[in-house]
Amino acid sequence: MIASTIQDFSGYNPTWCPGCGDWGIGVAIKQALIQLGLSPSTVAAVFGIGCSGNMNDFLNVYAIHSLHGRAIPNAIGIKIANHKMPVIAIVGDGDCYGEGGNHLVHACRGNHDITIIVHDNSVYGLTTGQVAPTAQKGFKSKSTPNGILETPINPLSLTITSGATFVAQSFAGDALHVVSMIKAGIEHKGFSVINILQPCVTFNKINTYQYYLQRVYKLDENYKKNDFKTAVEKSLEVSEEKFPLGVIYQVKKPTFTDQIPQIMETTLVNKKRFIDFEKIIKPFI
């Protein structure tokens, strides 16, 4: 089989603002898919609504451009129907941690074998700069002119403690790192979350490239990513504005579809039709 190229995966030209972190993430996703030997026909993606979700028109794959917040259950549905197909969800912070927060928590519990790529820039770009659930307390935005009253969501500790079996953090300013995290997430069998820190050059004047460059650091080789308590502790550094990059937590556990006996042998979409209706009818007599 001939390997796919960036060109194969490229749809329309992106419309993101010049300098937006989405550019780097967009290229990184394509690179990761190529390096994994995938093609536009062999992978499914679900996009949320937001600047990140607009990648639907820029990335060629089998895809659903979902509603705001609903990408995760769509991705779960695709996986249940065809668990042999890699499924990724490309979402934003408001999308995944706000509107779709409940889905995220429960998808972690289910250890669904899907990969969630979160664009985390602390603001709502597409609706012109309101505050997102990851913004630091006090962050001033159009919807919070006196500063946000709520404390931020911690995506890492939230997902680790909810049951995700792969939780990573990356930074849009380091495209190679983003590629490696997305690859590792897709290769992981189970629910994987990659929180990608990303400046919004238009609406977020606080969390800039400079801001992140000063505060991100890569986990060292001796970091024990399979230790739950270590991972939770590491994830809490975010509240001190220290941002570890790398795989924060990874363990092996049976996935949702691993535990469904009726799809052990064949995917649901490729199964033969059930016709032994007597088995169902008999108990009603």
Binding site: A44, H65, L67, R70, A81, I263, F274, I281
Partner: protein
Amino acid sequence: MTDFTWMIGGEAGFGIMTTGLVFSKIATRSGYHIFDYVEYPSLIRGGHNAYEVHIFDSEVSHLSPNIDVLVCLNKETYEKHKARLTSSSLVMFDENEFEIKEEINKVIVPFKKILSDFKGQPIMKNTIALGASIGLLGGDVDGLIKIITEQFSKKGDEVINFNKQFIQAGFDVIKKNYLEKIVNYLIKKAGEEKLVMTGNDAFSLGSVIADARVYVAYPMTPSSTVLTDLAAWQEKTGMVARHAEDEISVINTAIGSSFAGVRSAVGTSGGGFALMVESISFAGITEIPLVVFIAQRPGPATGMPTWTEQGDLLFSVFSGHGEFPKIVLAPGDNEEMIELTAKAYNLADVYQMQVIVMSDMYLSESHKSVSKKFIDEFVETYKINRGKLIDKKSEANLKSKYLRYKITDDGISPRLVPGTPGHFYQANSYEHVEDGHTTEEANPRIDQVDKRARKWKTYLNQDFVMPKVYGNLEKSEAVFVSWGSTKGIVLQAQKLLKTKGIDSAFIHFNHLYPFDKEKVTALFSRQNKKYILLENNSWGQFGKLLAMETGVEIKEKILRYDGRSITAEEVVARIK
């Protein structure tokens, strides 16, 4: 034989439901038809449960105004239902538990003493009552023992024999003390094999016949037993039944699985459907097939969870923001539920639309006997039609560029299963051009809106079925108009009217929306007729829909919205 009604009542949580179902099965296995109904509060313990079984020689799908045998496991049962007793009704109870002062036809069964003699649990009062009921009705006690044996087969002989004693004890009380009161309503006779099933069971079976592979739901009365049925069967059927975290996730999981190529459905009641509506619209624009089962209960909000109403018709028909086509069906009974459910999956695939199947507590939770032969024949004749889904055979003929939303004359575009080599596409919740990419341009927008709308036209030409007319429309002055679960009640009202020499007609809608305006209007063009709208809601919602679509306004209305279904007798009373 005349029809008769047996009712058992007692405190909630003490096995009334199981007992009633056993009684229904004895009746059908003895050659009779049944329709039953449960009354219960939204509680697990405490409160009052009542289960009535209406038994008849031929098909039945309504309740009787009278109770012929009332089994009172507590005093409340008597107090709540005594108004429906007649001078010949028999009332079974234990004088050691409570007194009934009125002059009635008493059948005293010492439940308390029997329990203590055989060291039984309070729940076994039901078993005694079943034995005594069968004795009183001249029924088949061996048949009852067989059902109990089947029920406890996994628990072993000891449990079976223990239960048998209570059947026998109840049965013996009648044989010993009440020989003269035995009414031979339940004498075993030959009859075809029948299933005892609820409307929810019928939806579940219809889904299995139609090869549905994913069912997602969040428990909500009165729809929950669809989820529990399909979950219990899933290892046999190969289906995946998922109980998701909320109704929003429910419908979006099903949209995902349907996109990936498997027949998918969701089920809920009004409140859960309210949460799903955002994604009804999403499935509408992405043209992802979906079957949606709605078992209505009285709203608004939490309303009356365990009672019945047809109050979500307009909500369902107009659900979803924006303009897009969908199909709404409303089966009238179990047989129609099986047929229309299986049809719904075909319609969803053929038109790449959302097909809503409307039920309500009355249809969803009542058991009605269904002939096994009917089901066998339906299974034989049902053909799966996946419409323009491109299968493995035809995918080789695909032109180089696949267009998911290709403009076509019938409005339906070929659909490709994700994973098909050499292609890709997006199902886009934004307005899109033919290949799925987002657009905000005027012309492609108009093209896609019109394309989607044409699917409705195609449906009306190909698959819409006109309402069935029961009785003689030309001859009758009184013409009933109704939809969904009221079917059996109106048919019974027609029978009662006939005995009074009154001819009536009944227009019953089960292909609820959209409908063929011209043809439907023609049904209402007759002069000198009294059209009577009959609905279990307070607005006359179907009447409003009919007026909106055709200009036909039905002035005469029989509406009931107290959580109980309209009865045939109420209908008759209004015709005089």
